[in-house]
């Protein structure tokens, strides 16, 4: 069974998003459909050969700490090496920086293959890429020249060290601090927790990006700085020379994503932890957000493809597993039917299809936006696109993270008892995917980010741009009378979004954020569903066009049916969320701690 459907990826890339248009831009002019295809082939091969085979093993034999060193199964190191050697690690970088200057949308599809194969082994290179991008953007030339070659060649991996034992989402309260020295570096002291990849035996060195406060810094988030803290201090050649004072206090044992170490780290136990300031003092959170925004889009994609894997597994199972007969058939001697023939199993498969293919389309669209931003020469045109990406980021992170695990849960349901035992892959997919609504900003935080910040940023330019994009799809869809009911329903949904936004805007202004943001998660659900419904209408238009070609009719009809499912079974839910929001429902807010 392929890890992902290439047909579906190609459909999104070329029939929906018109990735070919990038070929006319100076940035991507050296590429062709052929280089995109070949790159996807390589990503698929690397994923199938080096990531997928140990996915189950890495879960069973999670990393262990012998008191001195962390051990991971050797397959993880091998996979990491191939990810680097194939060029996938640096695929998005410019040619000058040794990269392939691959469009983000194609690179995202490549990452999708690798995460679908093995999410926990994929985390090491993904973190390394994100950390090196941050260093590339904000660190001094000296730090860049020393550490970027190490990271891009896979000699050092990256981490992001934000969370502390007492400080999770609330970064304003972090206690790790840094003291300047006469030599120019800082001494970092403090404890960090849940640091993915915080220690491992895969790479010679590890580069931690650590949030800490310089002594005497302003209180709250405005006093946070960012430091580069290597596990090993390196010599001029980048070789590990002296062990830095970063100690592993222990490994955390997770529900899923077990192949990726989750660590508790002590910085400066001996008061000798060398850290280098990245950029300016007190600007650390701003820099970290660049990495986090990129990571958030990546989390969404991960959740989408893990969801998709469960869909594919349960689809295959439902086609092969004979069980029961149609309710009208009372003949016990008749042949049992494959369970895919039962209407309720079809419901669960359609839900998974509409969630996961919708989520993949959403994440590819976000990457397509990044490409449009990067290839847009005109600042006036770029600004609205950037605002749209900002607005969508919490949705791109959260919608797949909510509905990917839901899809995985349905996959388990379809397999029944087989789904609940570890011999089948779907239970691990569910456990792996369950991390996604938690890390990189929890679901609740994304909801507040969307409703409290992104929606109003630049006078609502993001939302205006979104509406323009949706109008373009409605125009396309108008060519096909079959799609008229969906277009109408989407337009009504937009009116509802408008009314709800106005209403919560007034609540925020008149009654303050405590009341205005209390039901933010309902707003996130509502916006997420409307955005995904829009992307389904877009896919349906592309499918109608595809049907005219006369080939592949089943694939396109499948798209149309999934669109129909989403509009009939899912989109109507927004009315309920809107009611809660517009009435400023206070059921949750007024519940008292003591009443529980």
């Amino acid at each position: 069974m392929p890890l992902l459907s290439r047909q579906d990826l190609d459909f999104c890339l070329y029939e929906m998003l018109d990735t070919d248009s990038l070929l006319h831009t100076p940035r991507y002019g050296d590429h062709s459909r052929e280089t995109f295809n070949q790159t996807l082939n390589t990503a698929e091969q690397v994923a199938e050969k080096y990531f997928a085979p140990h996915n189950h093993l890495a879960d069973e034999k999670e990393p262990w700490f012998d008191g001195e060193q962390v051990h991971t199964i050797p397959e993880v190191k091998e996979a990491f090496r191939h990810y680097v050697n194939s060029g996938l690690l640096t695929a998005r970088l410019e040619f000058d920086a040794g990269g392939m200057q691959l469009p983000h949308v194609v690179a995202a599809a490549c990452s999708g293959y690798v995460t679908a194969a093995n999410a926990s082994s994929a985390a090491y290179p993904f973190l390394t890429m994100a950390a090196s991008n941050l260093i590339h953007h904000f660190a001094s030339d000296e730090l860049k020249n020393l550490y970027l070659p190490l990271m891009r060649s896979g000699r050092a991996a990256g981490t992001m060290a934000l969370t502390e034992p007492d400080t999770g989402s609330s970064l304003a309260d972090i206690k790790t601090y840094a003291t300047p020295t006469e030599q120019g570096h800082y001494l970092v002291k403090g404890n960090k927790m849940y640091i993915s990849g915080g220690d491992q035996d895969i790479t010679d060195n590890i580069v931690h990006l650590v949030l800490a406060k310089i002594k005497g810094a302003p209180a709250g988030v405005k006093g946070i700085s960012l430091f580069l803290v290597p596990k090993w201090l390196v010599d001029d050649n980048g070789d590990p020379a002296q062990r830095n004072d970063v100690q592993l206090a222990g490994l955390l044992h997770k529900m899923g994503y077990r192949g990726t170490t989750s660590t508790v780290l002590n910085f400066g136990e001996q008061d000798n932890c060398v850290g280098y300031l990245i950029g300016e003092p007190h600007q650390g959170l701003k820099y970290m957000f660049m990495m986090m925004n990129e990571a958030r889009v990546g989390v969404g994609l991960g959740a989408a493809v893990i969801g998709y894997r469960g869909y594919a597994e349960s689809l295959e199972y439902a086609r092969q597993r004979p069980q029961g007969r149609h309710p009208s058939n009372k003949d016990p001697a008749s042949k049992p039917i494959p369970i895919i023939e039962h209407a309720d199993v079809k419901r669960m498969l359609l839900a998974q299809k509409s969630y996961t293919e919708g989520a993949i389309a959403l994440c590819l669209y976000a990457n397509h936006l990044i490409d449009r931003i990067e290839t847009c020469a005109d600042e006036d045109q770029r600004k609205p696109l950037q605002e749209l990406l900002d607005l969508l980021t919490p949705i791109v992170k959260s919608w797949p993270s909510e509905f990917g695990p839901k899809a995985n849960s349905l996959a388990i349901q379809i397999l029944g008892g087989a789904g609940y035992i570890r011999e089948y892959p779907v239970e691990q997919l569910y456990r792996d995917n369950r991390l996604n609504p938690i890390h990189e900003g929890t679901h609740g935080i994304q909801a507040m980010d969307l409703l409290g910040r992104k929606l109003w940023q630049s006078n609502g330019l993001g939302l205006q741009t979104l509406l323009r994009e949706i109008q373009a799809t409605l125009q396309q869809a108008a060519e096909f009378p079959d799609l008229a009911p969906y277009s109408e329903q989407l337009q009504e949904a937009l009116l509802l979004v408008n009314a709800t936004t106005q209403s919560v805007g007034e609540q925020l202004q008149q009654q303050g954020p405590d009341i205005g943001l209390a039901n933010a998660s309902a707003f996130l659900s509502l916006s997420g569903h409307v955005v995904v419904a829009w992307l389904w209408l877009w896919q349906a238009s592309a499918a109608m066009k595809g049907l005219k070609s006369g080939t592949n009719a089943e694939f396109y009809r499948g798209k149309l049916h999934a669109c129909r499912f989403f509009f009939r079974w899912e989109l109507p839910k927004i009315q309920h969320w809107s009611n809660l929001l517009q009435s400023a429902d206070d059921t949750c807010r007024t519940m008292h701690n003591d009443y529980f």
Binding site: M1, E34, T39, N41, T42, S86, G87, T90, K335
Partner: protein, 248 residues
């Protein structure tokens, strides 16, 4: 030493093909196509010979539709130096062998490496036909290839063991599954491959007639497996094996 390596565009091994409605063949519209896995092994062997300093130039050749350029580009990304595509649809093994012979006459390679068969037609003919047409020695089903002193030693996987043949160069080698583990095309090499030359040719350029000589009568999917039954005892089982299945 110049090495010619043949690559074929076939349906990807992961695709479950379906028989076309008119039973003329399998339905290939919009399915994923890829390089034949045995040809990947052939390309890999050629690249390894070049890395060892034995081969100096690798020419990748395909006979197929225009889209087969993709498979030649893949070969170029894997390490071949240039490519030749003879554009022609539905050419049968004899036609391909004749075209390859014409190219061998022009290019004069010392070694021609092909996959032992393609996973679409499963014919296992082209390499042998090419050897016969050119008069070159053939080492088929190779699991080991060693070139030295104007000859090539080929270890062949045959029924019941391994056979080693020593062929004078130029020679034809066809690859079996265990010859090597093919690499993937790295991203920088995919970009470099774009700049490598790829010649487009037609059968007419070589004066070769590729009209099919074999007619496909009908293509049918394998019969669906019937549900099993439970037997009451060993005696019934033995009886069925003897009289129904007639296997004992």
């Amino acid at each position: 030493m110049k090495v010619l390596v043949a690559v074929k565009r076939v349906v990807d091994y992961n695709v479950k093909v379906r028989v076309a409605a008119d039973h003329s063949g399998v339905d290939l519209t919009n399915v994923k196509m890829a390089m034949n896995p045995f040809c990947e092994i052939a390309v890999e062997e050629a690249v390894r010979l070049k890395e060892k300093g034995v081969a100096t130039e690798i020419v990748a050749v395909a006979v197929g539709p225009k889209e087969a350029q993709e498979q030649i580009r893949t070969a170029l990304a894997l390490g071949a130096d240039r490519g030749i595509l003879v554009e022609a649809a539905d050419v049968q093994p004899l036609g391909v062998a004749k075209l390859l012979k014409a190219i061998v006459d022009e290019e004069k390679p010392e070694l021609v490496i092909l996959g032992k068969q393609a996973i679409d037609g499963d014919n296992n003919q082209t390499g042998q036909m090419l050897a016969a047409l050119t008069g070159m020695g053939q080492g088929t089903f190779a699991s080991e290839v060693n070139v030295a002193d104007g000859s090539v030693k080929v270890t062949r996987e045959i029924d019941g063991g391994l056979q080693t043949v020593d062929l004078k160069l130029p020679a034809v080698v066809t690859t079996d599954l265990r010859l090597n583990e093919p690499r993937y095309a790295s991203l920088p090499n995919i970009m470099k491959a774009k700049k490598k030359p790829l010649d487009m040719k037609s059968p007419g350029d070589f004066g070769v007639d590729v009209t099919p000589l074999v007619k496909t009568v009908k293509v049918e999917p394998p019969a669906e497996r019937q549900a099993g039954i439970k037997v009451a005892d060993v005696a019934e089982l033995v009886d069925k094996l003897k009289n129904e299945a007639k296997v004992i």
